[in-house]
């Protein structure tokens, strides 16, 4: 049996080659799909280009895209809107997610069904969810208006998508609905890894339910909480389809986030250079934010 001694991966000295070999396809893929386009984007952002052609000579280097970006009120508006959205949606996703996880963690009849229902919004495709919510909040025929009028909260129908504040609220509601199951599932996994004895010890020590929540549950969940928080915030930051299908960024740019703005500039107005600049700025913000928030998360993961 002639087996090449050089390629024998079972030898102790060659063992780690297997690791590299297995990683190679993934690394190549990431390089092609993520790293290379990223590089091209950064390159584009320094050119004054409308529709780029990769086989034509490169246009001259210029920083006008960035200059235009930082002096445009639209950019700052989009940044502010993105920030608002991230904070509000993350906060409510957390409240709702943690709450449902705590509830569903108890043993009761129909527990498995409850867990399934909690996870359902996550399974629904984003566009489908948006269509449903768009109809619920429809100005003339929507469920929400009917409920509001029935309850006597308003006398006349609210045009949800004509009012900047209302449209923003609707987008928030849709995103929270879509996002909280993820938090719920992560929290649930975390809750189940807390040893029962902690709670027993606390009970014997005389802690009531609220004290147990604050002193045992939350601190024990901190690692999971931290990671989940980052993932949710990044998701809200970059989410495109929910906002695009629901309001397209309007009305009056009330729901225009950085990702919407990037898309509009690139494919609506065919200004790829400018759009790439926005994309690069978005990337930098995300990287910095997650690095700050991550802290010691790698240990916990």
């Amino acid at each position: 049996m002639s087996r090449s001694a050089f390629l024998d991966l079972a030898r102790p000295s060659r063992r780690h080659w297997l690791g590299y070999l297995l990683l190679l396809p993934a690394v190549l893929l990431i390089g092609l799909i993520i790293a290379y386009p990223l590089f091209v984007s950064v390159d584009l952002s320094f050119q004054n280009v409308g529709i780029p052609r990769l086989d034509q000579p490169r246009r001259p280097f210029t920083t006008m895209n960035y200059e235009r970006l930082f002096t445009s009120p639209e950019f700052w508006n989009a940044s502010w809107t993105t920030l608002k959205l991230v904070v509000i949606v993350s906060f409510f996703c957390f409240l709702l997610g943690l709450g449902t996880a705590l509830l569903v963690n108890n043993r009761f009849k129909g527990q498995s069904l409850a867990r399934l229902l909690v996870a359902l919004p996550w399974a629904v495709p984003e566009v489908v969810a948006v269509v449903v919510f768009a109809w619920i909040f429809d100005s003339s025929f929507g469920l929400m208006n009917w409920v509001f009028i029935r309850l006597g909260l308003v006398d006349t129908t609210i045009s949800w998508f004509s009012s900047p504040e209302a449209a923003f609220a609707v987008v928030c509601v849709t995103m929270v609905w879509k996002g909280y199951p993820f938090v719920s599932i992560m929290m649930l996994a975390g809750l189940q890894s807390i040893p029962e004895d902690f709670y027993n010890a606390a009970r014997v020590d005389g802690a009531n339910a609220w004290q147990r929540l604050i002193n045992i549950t939350l601190p024990s969940l901190m690692p999971v909480l931290g990671v989940t928080l980052i993932l949710v915030m990044l998701w809200v930051f970059r989410d495109f389809s929910i906002i695009y299908v629901m309001t397209g960024g309007g009305p009056l740019k009330a729901t225009q986030t950085l990702s919407i703005m990037t898309y509009e500039q690139a494919f609506g107005f065919f200004k790829m250079g400018y759009a790439s600049a926005i994309g690069v700025v978005t990337l930098i913000v995300c990287v910095i934010a997650s690095r700050l928030l991550m802290g010691r998360a790698p240990e916990n993961i």
Partner: protein, 424 residues
């Protein structure tokens, strides 16, 4: 030894397999790529299918690969294809999108082909729009004019006559907007417009009122003419209609049309594509058609056909053959019948169409009225920036409605912003 042989055999097998699959591709027929959003559309889709069939019958060994891309994503997809150096051979574009492609030199100038094929484009509706840099870069496939559809029964109930001008229209719309079942929510509307979605469609809806007020976005020379008394009047009318909720709010065009077809809206101005939708609606039997109570009607070029400039000369010739078939009098006539729309070819025989579609003559009348008034959605001088311009108009109009601004101020704002866009 045996293992090595096995490996060699496997390697040889793979190579053979690879070659075998490649060979058929080389020996196969020529394939022309044709991308359109009208595939699977009732009427027009069938017509395209007939053109393809004729082409393949007269060109053995050549097949047309017909792909559908949604209207919403069409511009992005085409841009990506062209930018990536993989354009379709036969280029189908909406009339407000092709300018960008022409500006990049991606559309083959068609004059040599037109001359040698002796294609007579005189009187070809909307063909002016296809000129770029004094050359024909495409052929107009549809130019249309709006008509008005109305629900006879709803009007009868209120004792109203069909409106003939804006004043009557406004009165009728006001009377017809009410709460039918008494739950406090308005469920019947006088008219219907899309107020959510892209800028292009929003502008078209507005133009129902601005054109009648005598306003244009730009003049013949491309100068912006928004800050004019006529446009201010037009803006005021639009504001009235929307702010008084005479139309359902925040619906997309398709949804509005469906509501009308189901009898929830009384008066609707729209293009020829409304007809098949009405046919499938609940209120089919109560709906009648007439001319719009405005002058001129909204109209404009719809879509164009061209050839990609960066394909092989052989493919260009074949693509032209395809266009030749589509623009032949025979197929322009069948377009009238199948597509229920007036074909741009002035020589097309539309008698068959008139028999099939009872309102065909109305369509022709509307098209003529719009064409004579040189109405087009795409303002001259702002073709390249159309998307941005449309978005700006939509936003400022929305701002006018939401913040209850004076149309005079709004017109001035729009004027300034449009001029800035032009200078970009």
């Amino acid at each position: 030894m045996r293992m090595l042989d096995w490996k060699r055999l496997a390697a040889a097998g793979l190579v053979t397999l690879g070659t075998m699959t490649a060979l058929p591709a080389l020996a196969q027929n020529k394939v022309l790529k044709f991308v359109s959003w009208q595939k699977d559309e009732r009427g027009t889709g069938d017509w395209w299918g007939s053109v393809i069939k004729e082409f393949e019958a007269t060109h053995p060994g050549v097949k047309i690969e017909w792909t559908k891309v949604e209207r919403g994503a069409f511009a992005d997809t085409m841009t990506t294809l062209f930018a990536g150096g993989q354009p379709p051979d036969i280029v189908h574009l909406a009339s407000f999108e092709f300018q960008k492609f022409a500006a990049n030199g991606w559309l083959e100038p068609l004059d040599p082909y037109i001359k040698s094929a002796k294609l007579d484009l005189k009187g070809w509706a909307g063909q002016d729009t296809c000129t770029w840099n004094k050359q024909n870069v495409c052929v107009m496939m549809l130019y249309f004019g709006y008509f008005m559809a109305y629900n006879e029964e709803l009007l009868k109930k209120e004792g109203l006559e069909v409106p003939k001008n804006y004043a009557e229209f406004l009165t009728a719309a006001r009377k017809l907007t009410k709460d039918i079942n008494g739950d406090g929510i308005v469920d019947q509307f006088g008219t219907g417009h899309e107020t959510r979605g892209g800028g292009g469609q929003y502008m078209s809806e507005m133009m129902n009122y601005t054109l009648d007020a005598g306003a244009r976005w730009t003049d013949e020379n491309g100068k912006v003419t928004i800050n004019t008394p006529q446009m201010i009047e037009g803006l005021t009318r639009w504001k009235t209609i929307v702010k008084e909720n005479l139309t359902p709010r925040d619906l997309a065009a398709g949804e509005v049309r469906q509501l009308f077809a189901d009898g929830k809206i009384a008066l609707k101005m729209d293009g020829p594509w409304l007809w098949p939708i009405i046919q499938k609606g609940k209120a089919r039997d109560q709906i009648k058609l007439t001319t719009v109570p405005f002058n001129p009607p909204v109209g404009g070029s719809s879509n164009v056909l061209g050839i990609a400039s960066e394909i092989s000369p052989e493919n260009k010739k074949l693509a032209w053959d395809f266009i030749a078939i589509a623009t032949s009098d025979k197929f322009q006539s069948s377009y009238a019948t199948l597509g229920a729309s007036p074909p741009p070819d002035p020589r097309a025989d539309t008698t068959g169409a008139s028999k099939e579609t009872p309102h065909f003559d109305l369509l022709v009348k509307a098209t003529k009225a719009a064409a004579d008034a040189k109405v087009d959605r795409i303002p001259k001088g702002l073709e390249l920036q159309f998307n941005e311009f449309a978005k700006m108009v939509m936003e400022e109009s929305q701002r006018m409605i939401i913040q209850d601004l004076d149309p005079k101020v709004v017109a001035a704002t729009m004027q300034k912003k449009a001029e800035t866009l032009q200078q970009q």
